[in-house]
Symmetry: C2
Subunit: 200 residues, 2 copies
Amino acid sequence: MSRDASEPRGPGRRPAGQDTRGAVLRAAREEFAEKGVDGASMRSIARRAGVDPGTVRHWFANREELVAASVIPRELNPAEQIRILSAPGLTGLGRRIAETVLGAWDEEGGPARFRILVAGLSSTDMHDVLAPILERSVIPTVSDLVPDPDPRRFVLVLNLLGGTLLMRHVFRIEPTASLPLEVLVATVGDAIQRALEDPL
Amino acid sequence: MSRDASEPRGPGRRPAGQDTRGAVLRAAREEFAEKGVDGASMRSIARRAGVDPGTVRHWFANREELVAASVIPRELNPAEQIRILSAPGLTGLGRRIAETVLGAWDEEGGPARFRILVAGLSSTDMHDVLAPILERSVIPTVSDLVPDPDPRRFVLVLNLLGGTLLMRHVFRIEPTASLPLEVLVATVGDAIQRALEDPL
């Protein structure tokens, strides 16, 4: 939480220096978990965080931004992250992607965040949050490295990652649920690599 | 719905001959969609279906049975189904599994059912419904056909199927969301086959 202390402070009723942005995020996660993404409003989140709605809007321009910040672990910028992962080239890319994505959701609080993300299912918000990230930044960046960027390759890559998180954190089905993270990363990472490179 | 008419009728307030079991299932799906699997009770489902709780229990011994019947399409018996799919042997098994699983959820009402299934996420019920089917019947049956039934193979198979349903019906992320079913079946089916057979 110390990183938030160095960020600019927003307006609101909380004493100066407190981690207002973090408090809004925690309140948002609780609201989404209880009421679903559709059931939670900027206003109800503000109330829970003990700030006024303007403060929430100071940190998060709209609901989509707040949802994204609530469910994406470690406040990564996914577009930036995929550029970093892709920089060394195609060799080993599968494991690098698996380690980053699966590792992030394996952190403390990660499983709960993935469940919030999935709980947004009845809403179009979640699609609006994920689609730009995946369709407009992750896939094009990886496509540049793949000699034959057939869309079917990305079907397999994205579905493997999504399915692994679903089975591990939501359905908790073996053998995925309790496999050590490094075994899971190697297994899923190598399958991603084959999906990117192997003849179709 | 005509198939239900030939099933034994249960007690309750509904006129004889009506599709009581079907009405209970429809009420259960509505309740689960609105309140989540944890929020719905046998009693609230009975009330919505216009029957007494004893009638619900006549058809579904407990909540787990009702949840399973609500989310599994076409009222398949998964243990039986996997035996049928496995009978011709390992050749082509990946596509047969993909066609059955992805095809069933692609039917009318299938996406909504998958969303109900995923919405049960905060509950241990859904784990109790899925774990016995997958861990105790599907995996052992397929294991018998695979020369090297390493658990990592089933990590990939189950996660591919789960992830495909998640991306297609819940997050609706391209390219999975709108790929024709036969292309999806071939792509995911061949990846399943490789996961079952290729050297690890």
